[in-house]
Subunit: 278 residues, 2 copies
């Protein structure tokens, strides 16, 4: 199927592809090749099992080694999501929780609409064997799943990357790109800011025994994160929310004004610090 | 990405996938796996380079060995196309000739519309290294090509099979399937009947020096086949055409009626024989 035209400009755009703890170098290489075929360029890898760089990835990538050479490696998913404002998680299994489930076409339209407004977007892909963990899915804005044969569903990660990259390219030149003017560019905050809110809030709740038992904590945490993620808060909104949490956390009810009490300045200071500490 | 539900009925339908002289067993196995993921079942292989059955194909197929076990092997593409009435050829390169070029979505809609009317349809995929030959493409009704990064286009055959299988599944439950009644089921003749017409006509033309030089013959032949294929003749129409060719071929102009001349009975007899000899 080779049809490369070297005189053409290389397409290098679109969502970041984030592979979470991929096990096999071959799959990373095939994913890079799929990305290149459909013009994607930014590959982020969380904690590849067999280390990095990978000889096997390079050899499976065929001519797409340029994608691997620019790939970035992260110790955690949260760090890999830095700078992104809208992220979808691919999964083949139904998950509990408050997330929309989209098909690849609709997800690609969402990604394209944001990308067309210069927002940074991404797609998460899980490990070969077990996919994404619930706590990882909970960090994404929406879930994507593929229409498949229900009695035989075994897409590997490179195939899933291929389908999403293909659908994203297909949405090029959609209607919204061609309108003469645009409305407010409502953009979700970069993920690290949302995660900062999570940290602050979860810490504050934990200190109060909100999570009850250690068993219940993961589910309660995921639900909380899902709700906050679904809201799609902007940077300004998160700033406001952090101030609220900070206020609730640091100051107790009915403290009298004055004498070290939460006056307005103290509130503002607390908000600023909270935002800085991420 | 595993999400198989063994309690669900296995989807096993759709177009035949025809791999023309595939070189690597791994690719055949991956193609079978892609088919299974999206509910396709009929795999036809023309002259696999490394023989059949293939251990490498089986191991790459993962749980989709059932597709390989039912696969059929043919010495020529023409034989592999027997029984099919509408066939598209995938290619990454522009081809000369009188063929429509479709994207995978539109091609899948065409395949689905015919499939919904119980017609047999198929998709051709070429060799890893050089794809389909022009003479092979000329046997198909339409061409399919994939939207790709123009500066890096290197889909392998398993990926191409994956995309077509995926697009075919996506067209399930389209509008046309749900209409309360249908118009005439206009069906192209099974390919072997069209090939019979090719044989008859090309032989008749060759005997008359139509193809001029040996160099020009392939191009002239392909153009002729392209024109006849594009027309989408039904069984009845081909019968008529064969009668016409037969008549032109066997009888010379201005022969007087009577005395061994082409009376109506002789014509009818010639037509029948021509049809029988395929």
């Amino acid at each position: 199927m080779a049809g490369t035209d070297n005189k053409q400009e290389l397409l290098a755009e679109g969502p970041s592809i984030i592979l979470v703890e991929p096990q096999l170098g071959e799959n990373i290489g095939m994913a890079a090749r799929a990305m290149a075929n459909f013009g994607l360029i930014d590959l982020r890898i969380v904690n590849p099992r067999d280390g990095w760089p990978s000889e096997k990835a390079n050899s499976a990538a065929s001519g797409a080694v340029y994608v691997l050479e620019q790939a970035t490696i992260y110790p955690t998913l949260r760090e890999a999501m830095e700078g992104l404002s809208y992220v979808v998680a691919t999964t083949a299994r139904m998950r509990d929780g408050f997330k929309q489930v989209l098909g690849p076409e609709e997800a690609s339209r969402n990604l394209r609409a944001r990308f067309a407004k210069d927002q940074k977007v991404g797609i998460l892909f899980g490990r070969e064997r077990i996919g994404l963990r619930n706590e990882e899915v909970s960090l994404a804005d929406d879930i994507v799943t593929f229409p498949v044969n229900p009695a035989y569903a075994s897409l590997n990660i490179a195939q899933a990357v291929l389908l999403m990259s293909y659908e994203f390219l297909k949405t090029k030149n959609v209607e919204a790109d061609n309108l003469p003017f645009a409305g407010t560019n409502f953009e979700e905050a970069p993920k690290e800011q949302l995660f900062g809110l999570f940290n602050q809030l979860e810490d504050a709740l934990d200190a109060r025994g909100y999570f009850r038992t250690a068993e219940k904590k993961p589910v309660l945490t995921e639900n909380l994160r899902a709700v906050l993620t679904r809201a799609g808060f902007s940077q300004d909104e998160i700033q406001v929310l952090r101030g609220v949490v900070s206020s609730l956390d640091r100051f107790s009810r009915n403290m009298p004004r004055g004498a070290g009490s939460p006056d307005d300045d103290a509130h503002r200071k607390a908000q600023k610090e909270a935002a800085k500490n991420g």
